[in-house]
Amino acid sequence: MTVYAFYLFDRQGNCLCYREWSRPKLMKDATQDQKNTFGVLFALKNFCKKLSPRQPGGQLKNYSTDVYSLHYFESPTGLRFVLLTSRGSGDLSGVLRDIYLNVYVDTVTRNPLYVPGESIQSQLFFSKLDTAIKALACFQDNEENKSIS
């Protein structure tokens, strides 16, 4: 199992942070990739709401293809945390929630130099995010995969 990449978007669709660990397929145009990802999730979220038998509709947590899984967490303030992993990594939306509560709030919101809506430059955020992701059980095989690809 592998962790491929992490995205953080705000409500307006700005990509505040993009990190990748081992993404075998290189993206030609990172901005376009981020825009597409946000667009898909935006549509999927509304779709999930429409299908929901109860109101208010539940939140999208993850989806899987036969190759990869996408995990999703959205804060009430509209921040969208996205993690791409290989299949079989279980539900990681709770992990993304922890990243929001313990990493984002501590290192970004509380940083007076951070201007809301701009991409995150905080090294502390990156390193804490990195630690959180590398601690995941499904991260273990990242190094192996790298050598194969």
Binding site: R11, Q12, G13, K35, F38, G39, F42, P56, S75, P76, T77, G78, Y100, L101, N102, Y104, V105, T109, R110, P116
Partner: protein, 191 residues
């Protein structure tokens, strides 16, 4: 508002208050006091000072909301009434150490007041006579509420209607619900 939910929120507020780090109330009161003095020096006109304090609060509010959600564990409110109760029972307790009450709902249920007797910002403060009818000393709080709610898509207007510094019996902030923002696709692919 059912009393069981109210007491749940009270407990949430107490828990969040117990968990958070405290600073000396004197430090806050005195720092805020010198802020206000400085703004009065810069802008002179009390109306303008009120506006600046509100703006300052707004910028605090749009950040404070994340901290609030993280510490309180509250996710989504189902109505404006619930939001108002949570502000007064959880948020006021968490950040100011006091509990406020919500009342004075209008018949359309889109306007209410948050009432609190104790105001940690205004401790030791006496307004000189020329300001008692123009300056809202704690107008920062209005901005904080407006900024925080805007981040969760609720647009409100806030203003002080009673202030103990003006000789009123209590402090009262009026909140008027304006609209609920809908999420929109941020860009148009046709362009």
């Amino acid at each position: 508002m059912s009393s069981s939910r109210a007491s749940t929120w009270n407990k949430l507020g107490d828990a969040a208050y117990a968990k958070s780090e405290k600073v000396s109330a004197d430090l806050v009161a005195l720092t805020y006091g010198s802020f206000v003095r400085e703004i009065i020096k810069d802008f002179e006109e009390p109306d303008q000072v009120n506006k600046e304090l509100e703006k300052l609060g707004y910028n605090i509010g749009i950040r404070l909301i994340e901290d609030f959600l993280a510490k309180s564990g509250i996710s989504n409110c189902s109505s404006f009434e619930e939001s108002a109760e949570i502000i007064s029972r959880v948020a006021f307790k968490m950040f100011l150490g006091i509990r406020a009450t919500v009342s004075n709902w209008n018949s359309e249920h889109n306007s209410c007041s948050i009432i609190f007797d104790e105001n940690p910002l205004a401790e030791y403060v006496e307004l000189p006579p020329e300001y008692t009818h123009s300056l809202f000393y704690s107008n920062l709080l209005c901005g904080v509420i407006r900024g925080a709610l805007e981040m969760v898509q609720i647009i409100v207007e806030c203003e002080f209607v009673k202030d103990q510094l003006r000789g009123d019996d209590t402090n009262e902030i009026n909140i008027r619900f304006k609209e609920m923002l809908q999420e929109q696709v941020p860009w148009n692919d046709e362009e």
